[in-house]
């Protein structure tokens, strides 16, 4: 039973919330507008480092650091979007994945270690404000079957509040005529041009909004932990795509549900492997963790076969894709 409860704990952890938020941003790009952003990890990295450096190096207050970080992310989105969005869709994909890797290598390099900490990353000396406002009693807090450290639970509470507020805003946006234009662009840019819609402007707006949400996710992501450059590898972006497909792209709650399922399954397979190691089934954890990804792969294949539209997706909508 412990395995089950330990896995289900992932439903509400701060990491799940941060990934859900970044996936919501990616959904604005990919799900609603059809923009192929393969570098969402770059936006998340800008969020994490932008916030940490603003606080630790420049001594900004937390609200100012958040504002500076989000403006930085918007600038990065414009930098990537202005030259590429008027080209074919694949150019954005190439540029975003390359830019995200450039950012990661730059943050990892010793050249900027004075600010970024290089390969060591940054110790958490930036979430004092958040932890200082913690209303929960100190020590260990019990929530249902789970126990949390007081600070972790407070961070999780704030994170999920941000996720829900953002999801609400996205809900309103995509049901407005503005959101309808985004979906129209996803379906056919030329048709939208012929109806007088400034397609590039809308694509740029979508890129900035989704990117800023990704950066906000980066701020959340590093609150309970330290900042580690390796976290922002391309795998982070592809995990988010997995979440989108799991939960259902172009739905409001799909990315949130996707992130929850993803982390529960990751944790569950992890626990299974540990059990196998303890029981002598595997020689060591490395051998077992390879099996873990086999299990995750099998789960994904089953999903794509039996529910290709994702958990919340619309099957009728998907059935037209073949045409």
């Amino acid at each position: 039973m412990d395995i089950i409860w330990n896995s289900l704990r992932e439903l509400i952890t701060p990491t799940t919330a941060a990934y859900a938020l970044a996936a919501i941003g990616l959904n604005v790009h990919f799900g609603f507008t059809g923009l192929l952003n393969f570098g969402q990890a770059g936006f998340v990295a800008i969020g994490a480092y932008g916030f940490a450096i603003s606080v630790m190096t420049f001594g900004f207050s937390t609200p100012l650091a958040i504002a500076v970080t989000l403006v930085l992310a918007a600038g990065y989105a414009l930098l990537l979007g202005v030259p590429t969005l008027r080209l074919r869709a694949d150019y954005l994909a190439i540029v975003t994945i390359a830019a995200a890797e450039i950012i990661r290598f730059a943050l990892n390099s010793s050249a900027f270690a004075k600010w970024t900490g290089g390969a060591n990353g940054l110790y958490n000396e930036y979430s004092g404000w958040l932890k200082g406002s913690n209303p929960y009693p100190s020590g260990v807090v019990t929530v249902g079957p789970w126990t949390f450290g007081s600070n972790d639970l407070w961070i999780a509470t704030v994170d999920w509040l941000v996720v829900l507020l953002t999801a609400g805003a996205i809900y309103l946006l995509v049901r407005s005529p503005w959101g309808r234009v985004l979906k129209g662009i996803r379906e056919d840019e030329h048709a939208m041009l012929s109806l007088g819609k400034n397609v590039n402007l809308y694509k740029l707006q979508a890129l900035v909004i989704g990117g800023v949400i990704g950066a906000a996710a980066g701020i959340l992501y590093v609150q309970p932990t330290s900042v580690q450059p390796f976290d922002f590898a391309t795998r982070m972006t592809f995990n988010m795509y997995t979440m989108l497909i799991l939960g259902g792209a172009a739905t409001v709650f799909g990315p949130i549900l996707g992130s929850m399922i993803f982390w529960v399954v990751m944790r569950f397979t992890d626990e299974l492997v540990n059990l196998g190691v303890d029981g002598g089934l595997f020689d060591n954890v490395t051998q077992g963790s390879q099996l873990r990804f086999v299990l995750v792969g099998v789960a994904l294949v089953l999903l794509v076969v039996f529910r290709p539209q994702g958990i919340l997706g619309n099957r009728t909508e998907l059935s037209f894709d073949a045409k």
């Binding site: 309808r180 129209g184 007088g196």
Partner: protein, 266 residues
Amino acid sequence: MPSKRDPILVADRVHRHFAGVTAVDVDHVEMPRGKITALIGPNGAGKTTFFNLLTGFDKPQTGAWSFEGKPIAGLAPWQVARRGMVRTFQLTKVLGRLTVLENMLLGSKNQRGERLLPFFWRKQERSDSARALEILERFKLGAKAHDYAASLSGGQRKLLEMARAIMNEPSLVMLDEPMAGVNPALTQSLLHHIKDLKNQGMTVLFVEHDMHMVRYVADWVIVMAEGRIIAEGVPGEVLSSTAVVDAYLGAHHDTDLRELVREMEA
């Protein structure tokens, strides 16, 4: 060529070539306002390229043209559309994973709700929806309003594209082969809709191959061949002119083959 009274669109010296092959080389052309003009010509005559150039979807090497008296060469396609010149496509472009009604609503212009911070748009949305449903009813798509556009047949897609263009309230509607791949019954209804556009005060330019339909619906005919305009006038005259017949059927279509063979042997 004589100038027409009050043309809605005037184009001069429009030249487009692709890697040395001349696609469009139009010296001067005018579209009469409030009329249905047919642009005809054999395959490869440059009709669609000319369409793309006029609507901003392609850029010519040289050329100037004005719409409603204002120069519009060099404008982006969406800017051209906002001036009131809306086109359809030879291969229909419906927005498949949106409903028929949503397709229509996207045609409506100056929507408050399409700005980045969409507030106070519901009133306009209601009146737009009412207008959209009324147009759909006219195009016999009313029952389909809440279906995905991807579920429509080829002919229905043509109708939807035309209806969506009307939703934009253009002054010039440009239809690229509206009748291509459409069954005869639907062709009749499309022709009826094209005439209806004129009755509502719009100017229509359409590309077509079928001479009978051109004769039936057009007030003015412009003939293109090898990128140039080789003739224009009222349908009755143009369609019987030798140049046009030659362009379509070849210059030797009524020559005895044996004569040709003798000429070649000599």
